[in-house]
């Protein structure tokens, strides 16, 4: 339960971090809050040769409203977003999801970008980012590129990030007039990894349902906003099967499909019924 040996580099700026990523190659890992990576190092599920610590890169430690987005830098902790007094007015779905994310003590150090970069299929922040149509800003030593969340998440702990790229920031769309959202999840104990998590958003795009914990990545369904009754039940059932749930130690595929239908119906009811 102790990490294998590694070299350690503390980057004081984002520039230093991407220069180091370029110089050190794919054996290097970025360390931000460490709430997933350190556990993997301790269990030796990950054995990088060098860690690039960005937790003190001040130019990456920001949470700010920019245009129609809430931008969160790579060094910003989950707590710094969660305790932002205006969060519920800016990105209500994120405010609704925070209580489900691990525990107070973990959110104090864990970062928003770290959760996105780690891409655990049951993690809440990637699910929220996908449900809202958010963006991931990737940066290497030469340039930046911006990917929609739907293209960034590619599989279990797999993303579109190239080895020389830093997840510099993630951007959550600010709530639009008339948009409604809801979040819930089922887990064995409060704060554990979700067995199934569900986020619903109704807005100009229609009705979006994002499901985590079932497929190898968070997945999104988009339906007409007026979908109700038997049609909705059929759509939910089809989506539950499309996710190709697997049996594992935590839950059977059958139970996961049941949860997709139940939690999906629950969050959809929250965003549709009260708005009419």
């Amino acid at each position: 339960m102790k990490p294998a040996a590694f070299d350690y580099v503390r980057a004081e700026t984002a520039d230093e971090a991407v220069q180091q990523l370029k110089a050190l190659g794919p054996e290097a890992r970025i360390l931000a809050g460490g709430q997933s990576l350190m556990a993997m190092l301790n269990m030796r599920l990950a054995q990088p040769s060098v860690l690039i610590d960005i937790s003190r890169s001040d130019d990456l430690n920001f949470v700010r409203s920019e245009g129609s987005m809430l931008a969160v830098g790579a060094a910003a902790t989950q707590a710094s977003v969660e305790w932002r007094p205006t969060l519920a007015q800016e990105v209500p779905l994120l405010a609704q999801a925070f209580p489900f994310i691990s525990h107070f003590q973990v959110r104090n150090r864990g970062t928003v970008c770290g959760s996105v970069a780690h891409a655990d299929p049951s993690a809440e922040i990637p699910l929220v980012l996908l449900a809202l149509g958010g963006e991931v800003v990737l940066r290497n030593a030469k340039k930046r590129r911006i990917l929609p969340a739907s293209e960034f998440f590619q599989g279990m702990l797999m993303t579109a990030r190239a080895p020389d790229e830093l997840v510099e920031q993630v951007r959550f769309p600010l709530v639009q007039p008339g948009q409604r959202s809801a979040f819930t999840e089922f887990s064995a104990r409060h704060g554990d990894f979700a067995i199934v998590s569900a986020a619903a958003v109704v807005d100009a795009r229609g009705l979006c349902l994002a499901i985590g914990g079932v497929s190898d990545r968070p997945r999104l369904a988009q339906w007409p906003a007026g979908l109700r009754g038997a049609e909705l039940a059929t759509a939910l059932n089809d989506f539950a099967w499309e996710l190709e749930a697997q049996d594992d130690a935590h839950a059977s595929a059958t139970f996961r499909r049941h949860l997709v239908r139940q939690l999906g119906a629950q969050v959809i009811a929250q965003v549709t019924e009260t708005s009419r």
């Binding site: 040996a5 070299d7 709430q35 107070f104 003590q105």
Partner: protein
């Protein structure tokens, strides 16, 4: 930029419970082990070593976090507070510790140091928590003896007594 090779030990300087301390360690040393083995501060306990049990919770710059998920090198130049800092050596215990004693909020005590450090941070941010909020905060700690009920009672009573003390005028005011 600071670069530390795995091949040798590096000096970490920090302020531990108000006192300047330092020791050498390899880059891979966890803060939990550094406190106990490097600095002899064995009040912080080590349980699961992957962030689940909460026994190793300390405060870094006043914020509660897992010392087993933090490298010693990451706290270089920072302030770290542990259970040893809640009261002066042989002096009276803090109000929170007294409440834990009154309510029998510990039996074996293995989880207690971490819980106290969480509660100390949380009550500063949320001085008037509901029972549900306290239970939510305590969900980040595992206690296998008490069933949590006396811990919740101790935290709620501490919050209540602090609010009373803040609103009661001092004699002579």
């Amino acid at each position: 930029m600071k670069q530390c090779s795995r091949e040798r030990e590096h000096i970490v300087r920090l302020t531990l419970n108000g006192a300047a301390r330092s020791a050498a360690c390899e880059p891979r040393m966890l803060l939990s082990d550094f406190l106990r083995e490097g600095l002899g501060a064995t009040g912080t306990h080590v349980g699961c070593e992957h962030g689940v049990c909460g026994a190793c919770t300390v405060q870094i710059d006043g914020v509660a976090g897992r010392s087993c998920l933090t490298l010693a090198l990451q706290v270089d130049g920072r302030r770290v507070d542990t259970v040893e800092g809640l009261c002066d050596g042989d002096g009276p215990m803090s109000d929170l510790q007294e409440a834990f004693k009154r309510h029998h909020a510990l039996q074996c005590g293995f989880c207690t140091a971490g819980i106290l450090m969480s509660c100390d941070d949380y009550l500063k941010r949320v001085p008037d928590p509901s029972e549900a909020q306290v239970r939510d905060m305590l969900s980040g700690h595992l206690c296998r003896c008490t069933g949590y009920t006396p811990i919740v009672a101790a935290v709620l009573e501490t919050a209540s007594l602090r609010r009373q003390a803040a609103t009661t005028p001092h004699p002579g005011d």
